[in-house]
């Protein structure tokens, strides 16, 4: 591109083209946060369920702390990476705000659940499902929207009906539907666009 003068029509076309290119820009491995948090939550849930089933020792519940610890570690790593990004869009910032807010709310409610009896698995799926749906709406990745709404509205209530230890398995399965599968699809799509 050079510094030549354009006519009015060419100017409008150039503006449209540049705005569209930036708007349609998708990073490589855009679904990685979903994949990492999805697998982490699924594996920790299965580990907690297995340990509780085999030993009946409630101290294994402390293993849940691996999820926020892993989430915090990943958040710090990503924050460092984002400072090195070539471009930061408004979409990146808004999606970041959504997940930071939901992450903090989810963690604080999980802390409450140690002292007060609340259906924490249901609440966490509800929060994360809404986060996934909102991310899908903001980024226009409709599979994410559907997976998030399906999880929040249909799968989350299953944790209210199944009140024994098996609700942990439902929790693990929902994270596969809500995060792992959409994350892999998003990675596939974003890598194909590059």
């Amino acid at each position: 591109m050079e510094n030549k003068k354009l006519n009015e029509q060419q100017s409008l076309e150039l503006i449209t083209r540049m705005i569209n290119t930036t708007r349609e820009r998708v990073e490589r491995n855009a679904g990685m946060p979903f994949v990492i948090m999805g697998y982490l939550t699924t594996f920790v849930s299965i580990a907690v369920w297995t340990a509780l089933t085999l030993t009946a020792n409630y101290h294994w519940q402390y293993m849940w702390f691996v999820i926020p610890a892993g989430g915090l570690g990943y958040w710090l790593w990503r924050r460092n990476k984002e400072q090195q990004k070539e471009v930061m869009t408004y979409v990146d910032r808004i999606v970041g705000y959504v997940w930071n807010t939901l992450g903090v709310v989810g963690f604080v409610l999980s802390m409450y659940s140690i002292f007060v009896r609340i259906p924490i698995l249901f609440i966490i799926i509800l929060l994360m499902g809404l986060g996934t749906a909102l991310t899908g709406l903001i980024t226009r990745f409709h599979f994410c929207t559907v997976a998030g709404l399906l999880s929040a509205l249909i799968l989350a209530p299953l944790c209210l009906f199944v009140t024994n230890i098996d609700s942990i398995l439902i929790f693990a399965a929902v994270f596969v539907v809500m995060m792992v599968i959409p994350g892999h699809i998003l990675n596939y799509k974003s890598n194909r666009q590059q």
Partner: protein, 95 residues
């Protein structure tokens, strides 16, 4: 009467840079160069012109040992861009 088009924006490369920056929070020099396919020297000169007019803010930092130039549009730049697009539309409607 046609409104005069802002000469600072009515050039291909400067308009492309402003069009990119209007849609993002900030973008660095490498990204702008990739999107506009301009030479580094020419892009640098045009960024300086936009910066001198107060349309964009330029921040020079380091990414590790590599220098990094980050640009973001200012409220003055947004207003100028909006005015430019409105003027363009009025031209096209009249033709």
């Amino acid at each position: 009467m046609f409104k005069e088009l802002n000469p600072l924006l009515h050039s291909e490369l400067r308009l492309a840079v402003m069009s990119i920056l209007i849609g993002v929070e900030h973008a660095d020099f490498v990204y702008l160069r990739k999107q506009t396919d301009a030479t580094a020297g020419n892009l640098s000169v045009q960024i300086d012109k936009l910066s001198s007019a107060g349309y964009i803010e330029v921040e020079k930092t380091f990414r590790g040992k590599m220098p990094c130039t980050t640009c973001r549009v200012t409220p003055v730049g947004v207003a100028a861009f909006e005015e430019y697009v409105a003027a363009l539309q009025s031209y096209i409607k009249r033709v």
